[in-house]
């Protein structure tokens, strides 16, 4: 690894050394010795020594990764101070000060071999540009209590080695080959029992720890399907062996009988920190992370070697098993998830493309302020503003799900240059198709399914209810509340239809949290969520909110009347058996009277301004609708470990959305009228590689419904949907049943309304689509339809050039270019173009990327 700071630290540990210095402004010492206390001096901007800060860093009695720190020239002053004391009688006293600054970690790591218990070693490193900080930064705080704790010491080794991964011994229902562990060690008590007591205790063998099955398997000493996971003699191996030798107790002195503390005392993990947390990195640059665990007794430990690392975007930054992050070539922000014992701190590297841009002038719009600030930071020059024709087609498709009509085109071009985009957007917001188009989106996510003909009335009523509220401009919070807390019958109150399709309270909370909060709780039904804070208690407390949903049959089969059933709302955690009262995610709902419907409390919690999920989830969902890539991807997976690409933007949009009274139209207007939305999709010479910072517009294929409607609109044809009036368009369909009768919709990925995930809609190409476009009867019929565009054009009196121009205006809102006209004319039969010619020309137009995509 390169070591730009010139910090050479591969020396032996027993050799005191002075290593770290920085630009001549600060010099700090790195020492290793016995019983020393060192005072550091800080040099202020005046060049005069200032205050002294004592530091102690502590002893290593077992192998542990150890880091040396060094400051950075670019970052603001570092400001982490760990003050650590250690004495033979007491374990660690620990304090920490934090200032508003970030240290960087150098790339050097040392492995300390175990040393005798009696030896008191300590070491420390301090380094940093301390110009403005109250205290110097710290590095490497290491604690050792001389005790091996099953939960704190043994489990992390098993986790790091992959033993308790979902594919291995944590496989649901029995583990692997009869040895079962809890997923990622979330249930240490169970794991202890399984390792120590199960299989007649043959997994551990204190008399000869090396012969324990646990170690023999893990080291490949006996055949092991999972291969060699731990090397013989490795630090991990030694610790496991030591633990077994000590009797394989929950907590055991490092050497039997020599523990400082009674074995009953257990310190719990209270926090895990990663250093640094943020970092600007150049492509190709590497950064060693340091992970510090903090325990309830005040002790800390460097767990860098035991933590697991994962990058959410390897195209931007990758991470090694040992916590070395390397920036790749793509500019942007990534999140490196660091997992240790259920705690998941995140390191966020950002990789700029070029030097910071100083000439970007963001507009008033909240979107632009943050998008362009981010681009400036990352040095990504945005594409130019798209032309008016492109904007007309783009905004119309995204807002109302169709191509612009002839009238709309005329009105647009007639408007004054400076006004035309704003006037278009304001007109589209009031267009009934706006409500149709977004009702199509929401009814799909709300599972408006038709499983049999009984569902028909409910399907139509529910769809109409959603559409009407969107049209009326009802606040999003109110729509959600009416749905979530619906009572009555479908006839009297259409949102009850949601309770007809989603009947199980578990499914209800999973759907609602994923859809409205962007939180995926499914995992927590059966085990602690592996990447999240959500436990089974959180899950079942939310289920409790729906425990008093009463049902009474109505005249229609499977269609119940929904009411609040008086009683104490509660649910049982299936694993612990504990009864839980209703809670919202991460916060209580207070005492709920048996007569009160807990769903109303939940709905009110949703719309509270400090709810960290509700507004961001919606804003992100709409952002993705218009910008085609979410600020958080996937759009309904909000977690600490999946941070937004532009957090400030998400927060600002959410705040504005809350302040507006959850006004959906206002949000759409903000998004569409931003300069960011109006950027060209064509990259400039720099931003081609950008896929997440919105330096250009990212094109997306038209959805199945929009594409079918656009084809009909261009060809002057109609698709007939069973039992719906002629002229009904695909975006107005109430439910999924038409996917069966109209093959086009299914082939192009219209969802079956069976999931709350937008990902049920498939936007990717496949062979069936291509075959459909090339050879399917429905498209052929439309192209050749009587009275259709091909026939009209063949019979028209205008010049061929004018007719071609007409096609381009309708399909692309722009004039045909001369090369295109030449190609089209050359294709036509001479001297008179036939209907077949126009059919083929229109086919070719429909199959261009320019038509298939919104760009």
């Amino acid at each position: 690894m390169p070591d730009p700071e010139g910090c050479d630290s591969e020396d032996g540990v027993d050799e005191p050394a002075v290593h770290v210095h920085w630009e001549g402004r600060i010099v700090w010492a790195y020492c290793l010795g016995i019983g020393m206390m060192i005072h550091g001096h800080r040099t202020g901007s005046t060049g005069q020594p200032e205050a002294c800060v004592p530091r102690f860093i502590v002893a290593l009695r077992r192998p542990i990764a150890y880091h040396l720190g060094s400051p950075s020239a670019t970052d603001s002053p570092a400001g982490f101070v760990f003050m650590l004391l250690h004495s033979p009688a007491r374990s660690l006293v620990f304090r920490r000060w934090t200032a508003s600054c970030r240290p960087r970690i150098a790339k050097s790591r040392l492995f300390f071999p175990p040393v005798a218990v009696a030896t008191w070693c300590f070491s420390f490193v301090v380094a940093g540009d301390l110009t403005n900080s109250v205290a110097p930064p710290w590095y490497a705080a290491i604690e050792d209590t001389g005790v091996i704790d099953f939960t704190n010491d043994v489990i992390p080794i098993l986790t790091k080695a992959g033993c308790n991964a979902g594919a291995c011994h944590a496989k649901a229902g029995g583990g692997q080959n009869g040895f079962e562990l809890s997923l990622l060690g979330f249930e240490p008590d169970l794991d202890f029992d399984r390792i120590v007591s199960q299989a007649r205790g043959r997994r551990i063998f204190p008399a000869a720890p090396e012969e324990s099955l646990l170690l023999r398997k893990a080291t490949g000493g006996v055949p092991h399907t999972g291969g060699v996971r731990i090397g013989v003699g490795s630090p991990e191996y030694q610790l496991l062996a030591e633990w077994i030798r000590g009797g394989a107790l929950p907590r055991v002195g490092l050497r039997s009988g020599q523990s400082d503390e009674p074995s009953t005392i257990s310190s719990e993990l209270v926090d895990v920190l990663v250093q640094p947390e943020l970092q600007r990195m150049q492509p190709g640059q590497s950064q060693q992370l340091t992970v510090i665990a903090i325990y309830s007794d005040g002790g800390t430990r460097d767990v860098t070697a035991l933590a697991l690392y994962e990058s959410n975007n390897p195209a931007i930054a990758t991470v090694s098993d040992t916590g070395v992050v390397t920036a790749a070539e793509m500019p942007g922000s990534a999140a490196i998830m660091v997992r240790y014992q259920g705690r998941i701190p995140v390191f966020r590297p950002s990789v700029p493309l070029g030097p910071e841009l100083t000439n970007l002038v963001p507009g008033e719009n909240v979107v632009d302020q943050h998008v362009f600030a981010n681009l400036a930071r990352l040095g990504i020059p945005p594409s130019v503003r798209c032309d008016d024709a492109t904007f007309l087609r783009r905004a119309t498709i995204d807002m109302v799900g169709r191509l612009p009509t002839e009238t709309e085109r005329q009105r647009y071009w007639a408007a004054p240059d400076q006004q035309r985009r704003i006037m278009l957007v304001d007109a589209l917001l009031l267009d009934p198709d706006y409500a149709e188009y977004f009702a199509n989106k929401w009814t799909g996510l709300l599972k408006n399914r038709r499983d049999n003909s009984n569902d028909l009335a409910a399907n139509f009523a529910f769809h109409a209810w959603v559409r009407d509220h969107l049209q009326a401009g009802t606040g999003y919070d109110q729509i959600v509340k009416q749905l979530l807390a619906a009572t009555g019958t479908v006839r009297s109150n259409p949102p009850v239809a949601w309770y007809k399709r989603v009947t199980d309270p578990k499914q209800q909370i999973e759907d609602l949290s994923q859809l409205f909060l962007g939180v995926r709780l499914q995992c927590a039904q059966c085990h602690h969520h592996p990447f999240e804070r959500w436990s089974q208690d959180d899950y079942y407390a939310l289920v409790a909110c729906f425990s008093q949903v009463g049902r009474k049959p109505t005249g229609v089969r499977n269609e119940d009347m929904i009411f609040h059933q008086r009683g104490v709302a509660e649910a049982t955690n299936v694993r612990s058996g504990q009864t839980l009262r209703p809670r919202a995610l991460g916060t209580g709902l207070g005492e709920i009277d048996p007569s009160e419907d807990p769903r109303l409390r939940l709905a009110d919690w949703m719309r509270t301004p400090d709810n960290p999920y509700f507004a961001p989830a919606l804003v992100n969902r709409y952002w993705k609708h218009f910008f085609h890539v979410g600020l958080i991807e996937p759009e309904d997976d909000i977690r600490d470990t999946n941070p937004p690409s532009n957090p400030e933007l998400l927060q600002a949009l959410a705040s504005q959305f809350i302040a507006s009274g959850f006004d959906l139209r206002g949000l759409v207007r903000t998004l569409v009228l931003s300069d960011a939305y109006q950027l060209s999709s064509e990259p400039n010479s720099h931003n081609r590689v950008d896929t997440q910072n919105f330096s250009r517009f990212y094109p997306r294929r038209l959805t199945a419904e929009v594409l079918l409607d656009a084809i009909d609109q261009l060809l002057v044809t109609q698709t007939s949907f069973s039992n719906l009036p002629v002229g009904t368009r695909a975006i107005s369909l109430p439910d999924n049943s038409y996917n069966r009768s109209v093959a086009f919709l299914k082939v192009f990925g219209r969802p079956d309304n069976s999931s709350v995930c937008e990902c049920e809609r498939v936007q990717t190409g496949n062979l069936a689509q291509s075959l459909h476009l090339l050879n399917a009867a429905d498209l052929k019929t439309k192209l050749a339809a009587r009275g259709g565009l091909a026939e009209q054009l063949a019979n028209a009196q205008e010049s061929l050039a004018d007719r071609i121009e007409r096609i381009y205006e309708t399909a692309f809102c722009r004039s045909v270019q001369s090369e295109e006209r030449d190609a089209a004319e050359a294709f036509m039969t001479q001297p008179t173009a036939t209907k077949t010619d126009f059919e083929d020309l229109l086919w070719a137009i429909i199959n261009t990327k320019e038509f298939l995509f919104n760009h």
Partner: protein, 478 residues
């Protein structure tokens, strides 16, 4: 970004993000234009694909499906010593596997039993057709019937994994083809329709049978398609540079593949049974089932990975499937009715793949979702027809049976000429070498070179779902 290892950092586990994984996985291979091929290769080389999926194995699986479930006690697992309430009217005959017999219904298979493995100890837990099919084909543990499958079937999963493995390898034929395939209770679920079979319906023995979307014969029409595609290429001027996700490139691939299917004579040949000599066509039987199985072999020979074909329709009898409740069929009459065509077609397929030296490459599996009750039930018929007496006539039938049933396996390089497992003396419970749906699926994946113990695919909620939850390849079948 395509391979997600966000979850389950287990030793060799490979987690696939399912449909959110973009195009590169969507490609079922394609006949490519040169620029397209280069684009695609470039994409593939950036992607870390399929760590636990070894390189394309060149293997194939033909699943011959008995919709409704075959009565095991009347065919592969006779119980001549059981009482008349159980055993049925069929005599037992010796097979080529010493010491084991079949019933007289399937003499041709008995004569080539040395080329098959009879697994007599299959069981599952879902007694309805939907849930039973979902258990066997997708490993769904839910025993209740539901309208649509929750998990993808093994065919879609294998198609998905193999497509991914072969991304960038030019090919014309789809990787997964269904010839009257089972589709009612199975499908790609959260993998998306891109992983459905290329589906052919109809009776291939019908002289007017055509495969839609394959090998157009009208020269004028081919010319027209090619001309308009050329025009489209000239008009398709949009800057491709925006395409950082290679979406457009992938669309081009699919168009090329579709075009090849439509216009390339070689693709038509893969489906064209008239190119088989008459003796071969006769040997399979000049009926729908025989020609379906012949087409299956032909397609496997041409490089298709996964072929399913359902033995349904009028050759089954009145209700057009194997669901031999007494109300539907007289089970014995119905079995007699369909036995000849069934026996001939399956026998021909097995013999043929051995004679052509395809027996290492192609694994054949013949099964239904379950067996039929060993104990005979008597009910009035609900209608007259093939295999059923006039309405109201009390006739024998057998109902759904999941606790023990048989399926047969051949080819695939397995050690044939064995009977594996056994049911009890009444044919009710699998008692020796019990094999569940997970074992069944793992066996098939194993043949395709997929280590099912370590492959996960994310469902729509992002949960990494193992492709086989519990089960291991059946040792005798690998």
């Amino acid at each position: 970004m395509n391979r997600s290892s966000r979850s389950c950092p287990g030793p060799q586990a490979t987690v696939f993000t399912g449909r959110r994984a973009f195009m590169k996985f969507g490609l079922a291979g394609a006949g490519l234009t040169l620029p397209g091929l280069l684009r695609l290769r470039a994409a593939a080389s950036e992607t870390e694909v399929g760590q636990s999926v070894p390189s394309r194995s060149g293997k194939a699986v033909i699943l011959v499906w008995q919709p409704g479930g075959c009565s095991h006690i009347d065919t592969y697992d006779p119980k001549p010593l059981a009482s008349s309430e159980y055993r049925g009217p069929f005599a037992q005959i010796a097979t080529k596997i010493p010491g084991y017999s079949f019933t007289e219904l399937i003499p041709r298979q008995a004569a080539i039993a040395d080329k098959m493995v009879v697994l007599r100890s299959m069981y599952q837990l879902a007694p309805g057709h939907p849930a039973g099919t979902m258990q066997l084909l997708s490993g769904d543990p839910d025993t209740r019937d539901k309208p649509a499958p929750k998990y993808p079937d093994w065919m879609s999963i294998a198609h998905y994994l193999l497509s991914q493995r072969a991304a960038g390898v030019p090919r014309t034929l789809p990787g997964y083809i269904g010839i009257n395939p089972p589709t009612e209770y199975n499908g790609p679920a959260y993998l998306g329709d891109a992983y459905s079979p290329f589906s052919i319906s109809g009776d291939p023995s019908d002289p007017n049978f055509v495969v839609p979307n394959i090998g157009l014969t009208d020269v004028g029409e081919i010319g027209r398609i090619q001309r308009k595609v050329q025009l489209r290429e000239r008009l398709d001027t949009m800057d491709r540079a925006f395409d950082s996700a290679n979406e457009l490139g992938a669309l081009d691939q699919f168009e090329s593949q579709a075009l090849a299917l439509l216009t390339d004579p070689s693709t038509k040949r893969a489906f064209d049974l008239s190119l088989e000599d008459n003796a071969t066509r006769d040997r399979y039987g000049r009926n729908s089932w025989g020609q379906q199985l012949l087409m299956a072999r032909r397609l496997a020979e041409a490089g298709v990975d996964i072929i399913t074909t359902s033995l349904n329709g009028k050759l089954c009898g009145r209700v057009r499937n194997w669901d031999d409740h007494a109300v539907n069929h007289n089970v014995f009459e119905a079995l007699r009715f369909r036995a000849a065509a069934y026996d001939q077609a399956v026998t021909a397929l097995i013999e043929d793949i051995y004679q052509r030296g395809l027996d290492e490459r192609i694994l054949v599996c013949v099964t239904g979702e379950f067996g039929r009750t060993p104990k005979i039930s008597y009910q009035p018929s609900t209608g007259a027809g093939d295999g059923s007496a006039p309405a109201g006539t009390k006739q024998p039938g057998r109902d759904h049976w999941v606790r023990g049933f048989s399926n047969i396996w051949s080819g695939g390089g397995i050690r044939v000429g064995q009977v594996v497992g056994a049911t009890d003396k009444l044919g009710e419970d699998a008692v020796e070498r019990r094999c569940g749906p997970g074992d069944f699926l793992a066996t098939i994946y194993h043949h395709l070179g997929i280590d099912s113990s370590n492959v996960f695919i994310e469902d729509l909620s992002g949960r990494p779902t193992p492709i086989v939850d519990h089960g291991k390849p059946i040792p005798e079948l690998i």
